[in-house]
Amino acid sequence: MMHNLTIAEQIKGLKNRDFSSLELTQHYLNRIDDSKLNAFISVTSEQAITQAKLADSILAKGNATSLTGIPYAHKDIFCTKGVKTSAGSKMLDSFISPYDATLSEKLNSQNMVMLGKTNMDEFAMGSSNENSYYGPVKNPWDTKKVPGGSSGGSAAAVASHISPFATGTDTGGSIRQPASLCGITGLKPTYGRISRYGMIAYASSLDQAGPMTRTAEDSAIILNAMAGFDTKDSTSANKLVPDYTKNLSKSLKGLKIGLPKEYFSEGLDKGVEKVVMKAINDYESMGAEIIEVSLPNSIHAIPAYYIVAPCECSSNLSRFDGVRYGYRCDDPKDLNDLYLRSRSEGFGDEVKRRIMIGAYALSAGYYDAYYLKAQKVRQLISEDFKKVFKEVDVVMGPVSPTAAFDLGSVKDPVSMYLADIYTLSVNLAGLPGMSIPAGFSDNLPVGLQLIGDHWSEELLLNTAHQFQLKTDWHHLSPVD
């Protein structure tokens, strides 16, 4: 079946005329129609069919790029011209973006086919996709479980083969954690690798987009299309984009893998630990050297992140004022009433919580104790990694302390935050990180996290691809 092909295989299929982009697109649209996971907020069928027909004509003329005609699902945090862009919020339920994000433009320029916009935690704040205005997404491996978040719709769509790949964003783990919980390959590149222009901002010094695919090879193919300098994003890195598929086949003999002892301490589920250690053993048998390392400040990542991110969010989300776009309350009696009710009615609980925490931490008298202190701790966390990367090439560990948990089971915000322990440091330090399928615990997928030094995406993808040549976890699927 077409939906079981990887992107690499679909590219060949389109080139050899085994099937057309229209056939491929229609096939996925049918699958989306039949899906009961709530993975999509909007399905853009008509537009997809038009794009697929155009892609077929370009393919026929022979002037296609490698990704022409490949369908994808776009996280609903990326602005798409003329298409609703909600960020999972009531605030933007009626927002039709008047412009394209740079990433949308880049994928369009290859004549790829957008199937729709995927569900997510409101403004990317959450680890379970339960904070969406459009209802939670279900985990395709067990529909009573969460898919993870915030890119939960993207992860569920790829895992259930209703889209060959999806875009995601990762501020504190929002690509890697749902990838782990849904058993797919998720890559958060180095901060600044992919343009943030038109990607609705949560915490600007942490946000980064990335591909969510089934295989590392597909991830490399898609990163090639996503990465690159953008003058419209002042934090975009003006750095050459290598061909990420080039070094996939390099041997891992002599690769130095660091295991941070802090990532294997109390709180890590035994079943998850077993899967991760088995994967590490596989790497050892492939010729890698395993070295115990220490990231002593990583235990402070939770308080540091849950100050830095809410502070930036309280500032970023002040733009939603009911004046220029987005939700406006009925009959405001004065300007303050307009602001207060538009924002209170438009935002969900978790978003309001984070805005308030940020507003408090930034307020006069508390700035030094919270925001400034958190930035100093962020420096220490970053320095830990600098030291470790003098010794090893890649750091490995779990992505999430547990496999997917039951929908509705974690009610307390702090307990939800604590589950982000293994992913937050990577964002604070701006490093690239990946989650790759490594096995199962109680019939639920478990991901292995790969962390590299800045700009080491090639090495991470190579390390992930070599593992996928030796294992078939990434080929296992909850659907036929």
């Binding site: 008047p98 010094s205 942490l206 002042s234 100050i307 300007l335 507003a359 508390y366 800045h454």
Partner: protein, 95 residues
């Protein structure tokens, strides 16, 4: 540090959010729990660590002072909740 209901109302107003009286107790409890987590930072010795505002060592790019954006005022007004004679409309501020 611990917040009481009045302080929570004050912070909410600073952020232009309103909290229903019926939800105030619960909000205060949740925010105090989160604050408990944040207060762990106070115990860390950060020595002479420089505050890190940004993950990359990069400086702000400069560009020529030229208008590069297209005029999209019409498109932007089209999606606004309320407009009139090329302005975004809000309730009367000054009588």
């Amino acid at each position: 540090m611990s917040l009481d209901n009045n302080k929570v109302k004050e912070i909410a107003f600073l952020a232009r959010l309103s909290i229903e009286d019926s939800e105030l107790e619960q909000s205060t409890k949740e925010l105090n729990n989160i604050l408990g987590l944040m207060d762990q930072l106070g115990e860390i010795d950060t020595g002479g660590a420089e505050p890190m505002a940004h993950p990359l060592e990069m400086s702000q790019r400069l560009r020529d002072d030229q208008v590069t954006e297209k005029d999209l005022s019409e498109e932007f007004q089209e999606i606004a909740p309320k407009t009139g004679s090329n302005h975004f409309l809000v309730p009367t501020v000054i009588e």
